[in-house]
């Protein structure tokens, strides 16, 4: 049989648990700094909606693709961070130069046309190195597809949007041992 806590022990335990709970709530508030600035994030969301446009199924933006990319740039895609910083700025510069406004403010079809130009490397002089526009757009488009179709654990594919679109049960039903037909 254990002795009940002495008063002194009780005070010590109370103090420790108060300190611990303060520590944990501080941890919960701590959010690592996002990779994107708010402007960059808006731009990436617009790009995500271009790669996977919304219709009766959510597009890239609503499926959390920008969040997916942001998280990866703080993780396994740290090596692409510089490419994003400079590439996103160049997309906006291209947009201002050719359409008079930042990319995210353009109409949807105007955005599409601009990305088609990037993909074909038809870009105004003095912004991109040869081939750079195409390479950067392909990188971003690929990351958008990963975020949209990959596991929601990485921040994209919110509410299993893409898997529902493809008719895949989510989560997978286990024990489907009977082969249909």
């Amino acid at each position: 049989m254990q002795d009940p806590l002495s008063r002194r022990q009780f005070i010590l335990v109370s103090a420790l648990s108060a300190a611990a709970s303060a520590f944990w709530s501080a941890c919960a508030r701590f959010q690592p700094a996002p990779a994107f600035t708010p402007e960059e994030r808006r731009l990436v969301e617009a790009l995500a909606d271009q790669v996977i446009p919304p219709d009766d199924v959510p597009g890239g933006k609503d499926a959390g693709v920008a969040e997916f990319i942001d998280r990866q740039l703080r993780g396994p895609y740290r090596r692409h961070r510089q490419a994003y910083r400079s590439g996103l700025a160049k997309i906006d510069e291209t947009s201002r130069r050719t359409a008079g406004a930042p990319f995210a403010e353009l109409a949807f079809d105007r955005q599409t046309a601009l990305l088609q130009a990037l993909e074909a490397d038809r870009v105004p002089e003095g912004i991109w190195a040869p081939g750079e526009a195409r390479e950067f757009f392909r990188l971003v488009a690929d990351h958008c597809l990963q975020g949209y179709y990959g596991s929601p654990r990485h921040g994209g594919n919110r509410n299993f949007a893409s898997w529902k679109m493809l008719g895949l049960d989510t989560p997978q039903v286990l024990g489907r041992v009977v082969v249909k037909g």
Partner: protein, 549 residues
Amino acid sequence: MPQGRVNAVVVGAGAAGGVVAKELATAGLSVVLLERGRWQTFDDHDHDELISQRTTVLGNAFGPDDERHRRVVRLGDRFQTVLPSEGAYGNNAGCVGGGTLSYGAMAWRFMEQDFRMRSIYGCPEGSTLEDWPITYHDLEPFYEKAEQEIGVAGDADANPFQAPRRKPYPMPPFAYNTEGRLLEASARRLGFHPFPLPMLRNSVPRDGRAACIHCRSCVGFACEVQAKCGTQNTVIPAAIRTGNCRVFTGCVAKEVLTDARGRATGVAYFDPRDRLQRQEADLVVISASATESARLLLNSKSRLFPAGLGNRYDWVGRNLQGHAYSGAYGLFEQETYDDVGAGATIGICDFNHGNPGIRGGAMLANEFIRLPYLFTNVRPPGSARWGRGHKEFQRKYYRRSVGVQGPIQEMPVFESRVEVDPVVKDHWGIPVARISGSRHPHDVEIGQFMAEKAELWLKETGAVQTWRRVAGRGVSGGQHQAGTCRMGNDPKTSVVDAHCRVHDVDNLYVVDGSVHVTNGGFNPVLTIMALGYWASSHIVKEQGLEARG
């Protein structure tokens, strides 16, 4: 911590290393099995496509990790340092079980002709095509042992082209899924001979493990119910149960040690805390896969072996092969997707040999389930890769497409090779593997031939649109890497003898795909396992080792 001197140290707990460890331990010999990776479970990765072994964009779930490992690969006209999660690395896996933890688990025996490629076809210019020094019949009992002990489901009577076999498979075959049923009917109409694919996967409960539950995340993943049979849940636990085998995980081999007489004395390795250790042994077995086994030999330099072990005639690392997968895709009006994994259920061997103007060929099989991100790459030429067109295609055809492809038996090329890089080193300061060269031009011709057959099959199945995919002449190796320590009778043109023993080091063996003279038109894992049994049988009989405690 290293043990005292043991009978054998085996480097690499993959398809062959696991078998060798178990066979030697069962024979009463003491074994240390060194593995750079760790034990893995399904929970480590879930059904996460983006870190599966097929789609490694966010990392390799089953190793090796991007932080500590590097390779140098010749891409175009320059050498480039690449990470394990990048395609050019040519990764297999780095964990207990190696590739067998997460593989698709096709359980092919090579055919008799696959061991006699030069005699049958003659060597094309620019190739080192050669016969194996052993025949299918030498290996047959060991194929059988692999099938029985590790576990294969299949129909032993269904493939008229298979080489002679004595025993049926230990488990009944898997049923065809929807794709399989569609393809079976059309194959019969075309005069092909379809059959259910043999699989290292439980079709019924066996060996204390469950039967397959047919989830969609099979190839590239650890099995959540342990229905897939790899070395990590069969022979390696059996080795441990003997009490004679210790598995050291997180241990990275640096070099094979030799004495003044040129005999192997053990292995120097880095333990999980990066401390250099030595494991002394009566004999050393290298089973680290074709790239890493060659690298380890080349990094084991000494006064007697200035160019690395087994490399007196510059053959270590040469003839790197893999499989130039080629085939076709077809789109259908009706639904072909039934969500019944693993997905690949049907195959044909009508075109492995005897093709006009073609040396060898490949088996053809329907594809494993294409997961949603991977499917974004399944597109006919000229399709939209993004935008509304992309989404429409994904939505319409994810459930209405079938892929058929096969692993082209590559023509070995001397300049397709693994070396050690003179500059780049890994986390432990060990020179990394440097991969260069390209596939033989004939591989592309074989690929075109096989892709035409695959397309023909899909059209007969009712595809409304088809397109071919033919592998190019890029760097070889990859998941089915092989050939870098060729088996042969002549020490001047091979690295190991017919029993996988390095020619000029009596107590050093290489046992894995490295020793393949040619790599078959099949997934090579069952052959690698069979070679594990074959070499072990020789070691137990011929090395005359006294058991050490």
